[in-house]
């Protein structure tokens, strides 16, 4: 419950500014002042990012971090998207944006599907040892992935998938199992068992109940899982930098290479535009689906 402090005392007969009322107003002023500082700290960087991306280089070098662009130009965006040099190729970010999409979309769909089936099996078709299986799968959420990097690299080379988008999809699907399984299992526990029992008596099978009864009851958890996995996979850097090559690199790797390369003149406006482009898909998801987003983040915070 909210702290019910500072309910504004009504004006009394003795006038508007009684000492009590003055104090309450002062408290409110301080409260909103603090909130303004908080808002400035969190929103300021995004504003600076956007305004800088529309400036010209001479204007950036003249300072004025917080100022709006004098002559707004989208040139930096055009360069970042289609012309900027990343490594030895100068085709901008568009190819890497494509890599990230081609990687993230199938990886998200497959891992959410697997997690849903696993969660359903564990929650609604229990068997001796189901709790142990659940614990063994979910423990994967806590493992720092550094401890599997070298063997994954060897495995991907053996399979001929090292440096390919397919290899990254495979890895994201496998290491997505613990979190998606946990998310769905915990949600499906709340689906009434009677529904399942009734359907089983009518002769319905495992998958029929899954697709016809359980999934239609769970749109919210599906959205949460999709957001969580998309954000995690789109934003991943560790697997991306370890197992991709220059032609299959996702956005995070390309962005880091663009901004932190030591070659050439640093075009900060291009860097800022590139950063916005890299952040845009997950940011848009957040703006559109904030409520689900928070649920996903809370569930996913344990993830490796």
């Amino acid at each position: 419950m909210s702290a019910p402090t500072d309910a504004m005392p009504r004006p009394t007969r003795s006038g508007w500014l009684t000492p009590r009322r003055t104090k309450a107003i002062l408290k409110r002023v301080v409260l909103y002042l603090l909130l303004a500082i908080v808002a400035f700290f969190f929103a300021g960087p995004l504003y600076i990012l956007l305004s800088t991306s529309f400036k010209t280089m001479p204007e950036i070098q003249a300072g004025g971090l917080m100022s709006l662009p004098h002559e707004p130009t989208a040139q930096a965006w055009v360069t970042a998207w289609g012309e900027a040099c990343i490594g030895i190729t100068c085709g901008g970010l568009k190819g890497y944006f494509g890599n990230s999409m081609v990687m993230a979309v199938p990886a998200v769909l497959i891992s959410v599907m697997i997690g849903a089936i696993n969660g359903y099996a564990l929650a609604k078709w229990p068997f001796p040892g189901a709790r142990f299986v659940f614990a063994a799968l979910v423990a994967g959420n806590f493992v720092p992935f550094q401890v599997v990097l070298a063997p994954v690299s060897v495995t991907l080379r053996t399979l001929g998938l090292f440096g390919s988008v397919e290899g990254l999809i495979l890895i994201h699907v496998i290491y997505g199992i613990p979190i998606t399984t946990m998310l769905f299992r915990n949600f499906f526990l709340s689906v009434p068992n009677d529904l399942i029992k009734a359907a089983r008596i009518d002769g319905a099978g495992f998958f029929w109940i899954f697709f016809r009864i359980v999934l239609p009851l769970s749109p919210s958890v599906i959205v949460v899982a999709l957001i969580l996995q998309f954000t995690g996979i789109w934003n991943d850097f560790l697997f991306a930098v370890s197992f991709s090559n220059p032609s299959s690199a996702p956005m995070t790797v390309a962005l880091n290479n663009l901004v932190n390369s030591n070659f050439g003149v640093k075009e900060y406006n291009v860097h800022m535009a590139a950063t916005v482009i890299a952040a845009a898909p997950t940011l848009i998801l957040y703006i559109l689906l904030g409520r689900y987003f928070l649920r996903g983040m809370t569930a996913g915070a344990v993830k490796g």
Binding site: M1, S2, A3, P4, T5, D6, L31, L35, V38, F42, L46, L49, G63, G64, L65, M66, W125, F127, L137, A139, G140, F142, V143, P144, F145, Q146, V147, L149, A150, P151, V152, V154, T155, I177, G205, F206, T231, N235, D236, F237, L238, V241, S242, T252, L255, V259, Y268, H271, T275, A278, A279, T282, L283, Y286, G290, M297, T298, A301, V302, G304
Partner: protein
């Protein structure tokens, strides 16, 4: 066969996942642990068994010392800043304010950003020739200095402020949910007794949030051990190796210095650190439920 499948359909559906996790998680952890007992360089070679020598070597490597110490330094500061300010912001937002969802969204949107994006944003803001420092000079504060990125003694603060910016939203949301779960009668009783709000917070509400604190500490600690992208994008471990973290050390040894044995040992130490955080937490959680 068909009857077996029908009877054990649940196990059959789970078995591919279980097999994948058994190999790619538990098998690979064992593999890395095995590599850490060898003198492998560019490729894993199990005929070069050296026992625990890599661990001895690891803790005698100055760079690992910096990285390992930094993990605790960064971790301690990050926990302190994020928990205290995250709680404070949650309390501010909980004062029946106008436009609450607006303020909540502003604190939380950085969660959607990757650590690479976060690192680049703060690298720009902390850039001494173009960022906040110049802005302050132009505002008339000529002596203002913000040299976190170029000063090995304070570079850890650059990591802390960027990680806080990205992670505060989640912590704030968890605390806000905790505050909203507290019985309203407590506030009414306190108001009747004339107890000032800050005392209610310090002596009643915050102690009641103990489970949230535990969750937050564990979540943040796990993210500290794994922190990697942020360092790569923001400081790349520099100046020198002053902002190195175990994950960066591990990556460098594995993929750039071709010292797989040492890298595996550092990865196992990271896993050990996670277990040292997790086992007491799970112990407390299960004991409380019993």
């Amino acid at each position: 066969m068909r009857r077996f499948l029908q009877r054990h359909v649940s196990q059959v559906a789970l078995s591919p996942s279980l097999a994948l996790i058994a190999i790619f998680l538990y098998g690979f952890i064992a593999y890395t642990a095995a590599v850490s007992t060898t003198n492998s360089k560019a490729f894993p070679r199990f005929d070069t068994f050296v026992g625990l020598e890599q661990y001895w070597r690891l803790f005698h490597t100055p760079r690992w010392h910096v990285a390992f110490t930094n993990m605790f330094l960064f971790g301690g500061l990050f926990l302190l800043v994020t928990i205290s300010l995250g709680l404070l912001i949650a309390i501010l937002i909980d004062q029946r304010i106008r436009a609450e969802s607006f303020f909540r969204s502003i604190v939380m949107y950085p969660m959607a950003m990757s650590f690479v994006v976060t690192g680049i944003i703060w690298q720009w803001l902390l850039n001494p020739t173009l960022g906040i420092e110049v802005m302050m000079h132009q505002l008339g504060f000529e002596s203002f200095r913000l040299d976190w990125l170029t000063n090995p003694d304070t570079v850890i603060w650059a990591l802390v402020v960027a990680a806080f910016w990205q992670g505060c939203g989640l912590v704030m949301a968890l605390f806000l949910a905790g505050l909203r779960g507290i019985d309203e009668d407590i506030w009414k009783a306190a108001a009747v007794d004339g107890i000032p709000a800050w005392r209610v917070y310090v002596f009643i509400v915050i102690p009641m949030l103990a489970p949230v604190f535990l969750t937050v500490v564990v979540l943040l600690s796990l993210s500290i051990v794994r922190a990697f992208d942020l360092v790569v994008a923001l400081t790349n471990g520099g100046p020198g190796v002053s902002s190195d973290l175990p994950s960066v050390f591990m990556f460098d040894m594995a993929f750039r210095r071709t010292n797989l044995g040492l890298s595996a040992a550092s990865a196992v130490v990271m896993l050990g650190t996670v277990l040292a955080i997790l086992i007491p937490y799970l112990y407390i959680e299960t004991r409380e439920r019993a």
